[in-house]
């Protein structure tokens, strides 16, 4: 119960600290901002390690195996695992089940090609050592090449071909409403594209086409602005809803108390700043 109350006080304090930036830049805001950056980075790193690296990389290099049944290379390979277990016991666990010793993680089939990914991952860390930092370029080359190839395919098939296909519409469908919709869509696409075509000077009739393109773009920006406002207001509603929830007796009146304290501190620091300026 006390943990819940403490959590509410922390949530209220951090929310009000961030909102206090609307008044002016201040110590509360800076404190909350730094906490956010640090906690986010640590949180992401921790989640990525325990959800991805440990089960999906180490789990494939060393899936759980009965040690007594291993021989040859596998015996040597699991010997390395044992060494890692001695140093990082939590990451590389060993278990004794019914008197039988098991080493390894999960029950995925062993796949030693993951060693390539492991080595490329290590290369990325070499950026911390200037002398061999150049090795990280190999890893980056792989990431960039893979991402570019993957995205090119996706964009070409769904965005370029898919969207061009969706724009090939009949100008007359038999229904006035949908025909007008189709005409607006086609005119919008063509004039919008023409606005970004700079190989001919936009004058005379071409200027009119380009102008129509701008109007379509302006409508798009206006709609985007409207949606952006809607989104931001929604987020504000969410924070206010929590502030209202935590203002009750069951949470020790967290919101009103912290709000008053912060307003007093902000007024005092502003006054002090002004008197120093004078």
């Amino acid at each position: 119960m006390y943990i819940g109350i403490l959590g509410a006080w922390i949530a209220v304090f951090l929310t009000l600290s961030i909102l206090s930036y609307l008044y002016e830049d201040n110590v509360f805001y800076k404190f909350a901002e730094h906490i956010f950056v640090g906690v986010s980075a640590a949180h992401w790193a921790s989640i990525a390690f325990w959800n991805q690296l440990q089960p999906n990389l180490f789990g494939r290099l060393w899936p759980q195996a009965e040690i007594a049944a291993l021989d040859g290379f596998q015996k040597f390979w699991y010997g390395i695992y044992h060494g890692l277990h001695i140093i990082f016991g939590k990451i590389f666990p060993e278990a004794t089940i019914n008197g039988v010793l098991y080493r390894g993680i999960g029950d995925q089939p062993q796949n030693l090609t993951y060693l390539i990914a492991f080595v490329l991952g290590l290369f990325m860390l070499f950026r911390l050592i200037p002398k061999i930092g150049w090795l990280s370029r190999w890893s980056l080359a792989y990431v960039i090449g893979m991402a570019a190839g993957l995205r090119l395919y996706g964009y070409m098939s769904s965005d370029v071909i898919g969207q061009i296909h969706a724009t090939m519409l009949p100008l007359w469908t038999g229904d006035v409403g949908s025909s007008i919709n189709n005409i607006i869509l086609i005119v919008g696409v063509l004039t919008g594209l023409f606005y970004f075509f700079f190989s001919v000077e936009h004058k005379g009739a071409l200027k009119v086409v380009s102008r129509i393109g701008i109007y379509f773009l302006m409508i798009y920006f206006g709609a985007s602005f409207g949606f952006a406002v809607m989104g931001r207001i929604s987020l504000l509603i969410g924070r206010f809803n929590d502030l209202i929830l935590y203002s009750g007796k069951e949470y020790g009146f967290a919101t009103p108390i912290l709000l008053v304290v912060m307003i007093v501190v902000l007024i005092l620091t502003t006054r002090k700043k002004k008197s120093e300026e004078v």
């Binding site: 959800n51 098939s157 969706a166 929604s234 987020l235 809803n241």
Partner: protein, 302 residues
């Protein structure tokens, strides 16, 4: 010295006064709800009916790509969509492409699957957890789930989870629903799973993303979207209306839970504040423009 009118003063108004007014118009309707009516739109209806038409044995892949910063918009959608699917007896496979998505998913599942419907983990639903890799993970599961999710969020091997026994790749799911707040999100699901495998995709997304996603809806690459908080409120209304009017497949548990659904309507509750804040912003824009033109006219005069 020329007299300064009220409209001219507005031009140099301290922005903190505007912040304070916005805070008040959001705060007051939250304290004193007005119950403004919710009208459903085509976008939300398309998403709702696409999910509603799925058969009872359908498996839906839900991906959580949002975090606390966009929770007020997307969390109510996640709750409503899960209530809708579980009220039809559908099975749900959950995964996350954002690290925070895992916590959002756990929170929603705890409320809807465990507390409300009392469903069995691993049989009726599963949370596979978060995997870093963005679209590479989406592309990966089109080939093999097990290669990308060797364990679920609780550390159980995927081979020991009953709901996953006949789901080897993304081809084996009947629908993909992305709860998306940015990249990676709904667009990546269309590009790397929906279009290549011809699996229907829909999304619950933030307002900011709506303009980016509309071309995919228009082209049929997405089956409607739930757009921002208004979309969430519409979906809540549609789920309740479906159960109240006994339309389509509805389980007995869902009928019993109807009063609970009606009571916990977060998005609908928030829509009063949203509507009033929008009216105030429209007023600001109109006044700001009038002030600008009055000032410009005066400058031309002198």
């Amino acid at each position: 010295m020329a007299k300064v009118s009220f409209l001219e003063k507005l031009d140099s108004l301290d922005r903190r006064i505007i912040f304070l007014i916005i805070a008040l118009v959001v705060f007051i309707p939250l304290l004193v709800p007005m119950g403004l009516p919710i009208e459903t739109t085509q976008l939300t209806e398309d998403a709702f009916y696409a999910l509603d038409e799925l058969p009872q044995d359908a498996k839906i892949l839900m991906s959580f790509e949002y975090g606390p910063s966009t929770k007020p918009e997307i969390h109510p959608m996640a709750i409503s969509v899960l209530r809708h699917l579980f009220s039809k007896g559908n099975k749900v496979i959950i995964m996350c492409l954002w690290p925070d998505g895992l916590f959002m998913a756990n929170e929603v599942l705890d409320l809807v699957a465990r507390q409300e419907f009392d469903l069995e983990y691993g049989v009726d639903y599963v949370n596979l957890g978060y995997r870093p890799g963005n679209e590479a993970i989406i592309k990966g599961i089109t080939k093999s789930f097990a290669a990308n999710f060797s364990i679920d969020s609780k550390g159980t091997s995927i081979s020991q989870i009953p709901i996953m026994h006949d789901v080897q790749t993304a081809r084996d799911v009947d629908f993909i629903f992305s709860l998306s707040a940015g990249y990676p999100g709904a667009i990546e699901w269309v590009l790397y799973a929906g279009d290549p495998l011809q699996i229907p995709v829909s999304s619950g997304n933030t307002s900011i993303q709506v303009n980016q996603l509309l071309p995919y809806v228009k082209s049929g690459q997405m089956k409607g979207i739930i757009a921002g908080m208004p979309g969430a409120a519409e979906y809540e209304t549609m789920v309740i209306r479906k159960i109240e009017n006994n339309i389509g497949i509805i389980t007995d548990e869902a009928r019993e839970l109807l009063p609970n659904f009606k009571e916990r309507r977060n998005a609908t509750k928030f829509m009063d504040a949203q509507s009033i804040a929008h009216l105030m912003i429209v007023l600001f824009i109109v006044l700001g423009n009038i002030s600008f033109f009055v000032k410009r006219r005066k400058q031309k005069k002198y």
